[in-house]
């Protein structure tokens, strides 16, 4: 076996220039794949990191039946919210657990009317972890005692043409389906660089929300912020005795669209990159065909010395596989280089933020990862294609009749 490897390896480098060009092609294919994987991973980090912050924590607990009405934010009270919050706070992974009331409503000013989510929060608890609380640009964050004060984003302030101290009308509906209208004063404005998200949310204090929408001391959601992403399942498990038939959602399940979009794009990319790899594979095929022609006499000698046709074809398969491997190594280096370079500045995706609900979460440049997420899968594809493309020449080589091949000049 070692002998075959040595033979094949020497054969690979007999025509250095030729081999290098084929390796260049394979390297380009792999670098392209790694670039794509890196961008996708960069997207995920950019979106998920913000998704957790902006969409109310790593885990949200709602009353049973809530998700059938998802998107419409029903005022469905969560029975044991207080207990849940207390239990969640006991968990070491939990940074903050708090109650919320979420309903959809409309904000109107002289400038026009805007559909919004009205979110009642416990400011004293959320202040420590809230991204919005850290990014106050004017006025102040909410306090628990606030009654007719709202806390809004710069995006909404700009569209509505309002500033701190201005008054707007906030319209919602209580649990008895009665329209509730109240004039509110802007207490503070935050700016998290996500205008599309900012436009959709208005924060008020939990007590005010409970009062306005007739919830008494109940709430519709328990939001749990963790210290670290990835510990959601452990926390949910620890809380399970209290959860009953309540619905739990993690930040990842809140965005099925994102997962779908990334997966379907990923599939298309898999197919495309395989086709592109086959193009590079034709380079291997042509090169080996040429090598067989050049080495007709040699193959004849090997045959005459007793090497079986099958063994001769192994030799060529090995040669093709080795070219694939070297191309792979070169591609990894090239891909790492490209991604490292792009990590310096990042890519500007700001034009796309308005495109979907989830791209609105991108507030910085996209920084690609190193692109090694799927490297095993990519490597398998490249090696498989290299071997498939060497199969035909390898079979050709085995067909040579030693006696005739020896006579070949």
């Amino acid at each position: 076996m070692l002998l075959y490897l040595r033979l094949a390896w020497r054969n690979v480098w007999r025509h250095r220039r030729r081999t290098l060009i084929v390796i260049l092609a394979i390297g380009l294919v792999l670098a392209l794949m790694m670039f794509y994987d890196g961008i996708v991973a960069g997207f995920k980090t950019a979106i998920y990191g913000n998704a957790v912050q902006v969409l109310g924590g790593n885990i949200q607990v709602h009353a049973a039946g809530y998700s059938e009405k998802i998107g419409q934010s029903p005022l469905l009270a969560l029975p044991n919210a207080e207990e849940l919050v207390a239990a969640a706070q006991q968990q070491p992974q939990v940074a903050v657990a708090s109650r919320r009331v979420i309903t959809s409503g409309m904000a109107t000013s002289a400038e026009g009317a805007f559909g919004v989510s009205i979110i009642g929060i416990e400011p004293e608890k959320e202040q420590a972890v809230s991204l919005e609380a850290k990014k106050v640009t004017a006025g102040r964050y909410l306090t628990a005692a606030d009654t007719d004060q709202i806390f809004i984003g710069q995006g909404l302030a700009d569209t509505m043409g309002i500033a701190v101290g201005d008054r707007i009308t906030l319209v919602g509906r209580d649990v008895h389906k009665q329209m509730r209208k109240r004039t509110m004063t802007v207490a503070g404005i935050y700016d998290i660089d996500m205008p599309e998200i900012e436009k959709n949310n208005i924060f008020i204090s939990l007590a005010e929300a409970q009062d306005l929408y007739g919830l008494g001391d109940q709430s519709t959601e328990v939001a749990i912020m963790l210290h670290k992403i990835g510990e959601e399942d452990a926390v949910i498990k620890a809380l399970s005795p209290l959860l009953g038939d309540s619905e739990t959602q993690t930040w990842a399940t809140s965005f099925p669209e994102l997962v779908y979009a990334l997966e379907s794009k990923g599939k298309v990319m898999n197919i495309f990159s395989t086709i592109i790899m086959f193009i590079a594979g034709i380079g291997i095929l042509n090169m080996l065909l040429m090598a067989i022609y050049e080495r007709t006499r040699e193959i004849g000698v090997l045959g005459a010395l007793g090497m079986k046709p099958r063994q001769i074809s192994y030799l060529f398969l090995l040669e093709g596989g080795m070219i694939g491997l070297v191309g792979l190594a070169f591609g990894v280096l090239l891909g790492l280089g490209i991604n490292l370079l792009l990590q310096q500045g990042g890519l500007d995706y700001s034009a796309f933020t308005g495109l979907t609900e989830y791209t609105a979460l991108i507030n910085t440049n996209i920084y690609p990862s190193l692109g090694l997420e799927k490297i095993v899968q990519r490597a398998v594809v490249i090696l498989a294609v290299a071997l498939i493309c060497s199969y035909y020449p390898a079979r050709e080589a085995a067909k040579n009749e030693p006696a005739q091949a020896l006579h070949f000049v």
Binding site: V29, S104, F114, M160, V171, I276, I282, G283, G354
Partner: protein, 405 residues
């Protein structure tokens, strides 16, 4: 010249298998790129068509202070006496139809659930609203004097579990900055092909929309369709006045062209990478043939063939190879594009106000992008021949004659 091409043709024929595979590599690359270009073109085109049909029209006449993001109903932001303005616009020769529209923000309530919507008041009898009339999937279309009926999109109806005949409550903002609420009956549900639009738009007759928002005698915009969209700029210029703002569909769909420009940028990079990979196959093929024919080239040179002409011979070979590759690419790519334009790709709900997308994208290949791709493929392949051709031209006749084989 003919002589060169003949020689190149024969040389390629000497190793038919290799030449075929090289052309196949180029053909595969080209067909892949044709497919990608056509899918993107189809996406952009369908988005533009949907937007013109539903949101922007070819032209809109608005008040100078109107801001479409705000759905303002203050009278100074609206067009006064919209019927006569619309009639005036419709009297122009290139205009197919024009009608007033009124926009407001609203919330629908049914049982425990609420959903935010855009309220759209239309003139049900105008041809500009044919997409809604023809898009009715259940129930009936509206009549202009209906005071209680609305149409809702099929996606919204499904989300809220509603069907024609159900009662809903609609809350809207009004011209004086206040909010009003009234009960309505769903007359019918419509589907436009854009799930996003069907989820967010509630339609009622203009007269009723004006009453409920206290904007009697006003409209947000005059929605204009032209017989030929290329006339948009000319008609826009003709309508220009100090009283109104006239916008063309291009101005209203600026986000779309921005996204198109950006994706084109990425596509060019991808084109070059894919073609670069096919180029390596061509380079290698030609290098091999230079080496096989070292002796031959030596003889040609010894007989007085100039280096330039030897290079030209290899360029001719590469040209023929490329022509073959492009032929294969056009056949393969044509089949792929044909399939993708018939069957399409399902993309689901994806899109926003500035860029409506239908839930299925059909490929669409324009002559321009096909020609651009073919020319790019040609140029890249010719460049690929440069190195092997130089190698051949630089051979010393004497050394070349002495080389083996």
């Amino acid at each position: 010249m003919i002589h060169l091409i003949k020689m190149a043709f024969r040389d390629l024929g000497r190793n038919r298998r290799r030449s075929f595979f090289s052309a196949l590599a180029l053909g595969m690359g080209l067909s892949l790129l044709l497919l990608m270009a056509s899918v993107i073109e189809g996406e952009v085109r369908s988005s533009m068509d949907l937007s013109i049909k539903l949101q922007s029209g070819h032209l809109q006449v608005r008040s100078l202070t109107y801001d479409e993001d705000k759905h303002s109903l203050a009278h100074e932001d609206l067009v006064a006496d919209p019927e006569s303005v619309a009639a005036q616009v419709a009297s122009l020769e290139p205009v197919q139809a024009a009608s007033p529209r009124l926009y407001a923000s609203g919330i629908i309530t049914v049982g425990e659930e609420t959903a935010g919507v855009n309220l759209l008041g239309i003139d049900p009898d105008s041809d500009t609203n044919a997409p809604y009339r023809d898009g009715i999937v259940s129930g009936q279309y509206l009549s202009a004097d209906d005071r209680e009926g609305v149409l809702i999109g099929s996606t919204l109806a499904a989300n809220l579990g509603l069907s024609a005949g159900d009662d809903i409550s609609v809350m809207v903002n009004t011209a004086n900055g206040d909010v009003d609420e009234q009960p309505f009956t769903i007359r019918g549900t419509y589907a436009t092909g854009s799930p996003f639009y069907d989820e967010s738009t509630l339609i009622m007759p203009l007269a009723k929309a004006q009453t409920i928002t206290q904007a009697e005698g006003y409209a947000s915009t005059i929605f204009v369709l032209l017989k030929d969209q290329d006339q948009a700029d000319a008609v826009s210029a003709a309508l220009k006045s100090s009283q109104y703002e006239v916008l063309t569909y291009r101005q209203m769909n600026a986000l779309l062209s921005q996204i198109q420009g950006m994706s084109n940028g990425y596509m060019i990079v991808l084109y070059l990478i894919v073609l670069g990979i096919t180029a390596t196959v061509i380079i290698n093929t030609l290098i091999m043939s230079v080496f096989e024919r070292t002796r031959e080239i030596g003889i040609l040179a010894a007989m007085g063939m100039r280096p330039g002409r030897i290079m030209a011979m290899f360029f001719a070979e590469s040209t023929l190879l490329t022509a073959g590759g492009i032929g294969i690419g056009l056949v393969l790519g044509g089949l792929l594009v044909m399939y993708a334009s018939k069957v399409g790709f399902y993309i689901g709900k994806f899109g926003i106000e500035g860029m409506l997308l239908s839930d299925r994208i059909y490929a669409r290949l324009t002559i321009e992008s096909a020609i651009a791709l073919i020319i790019t493929a040609f140029v890249v392949s010719l460049l690929a021949a440069l190195y092997p051709a130089l190698l051949a031209a630089r051979l010393e006749p004497v050394d070349a004659l002495h080389s083996g084989n």
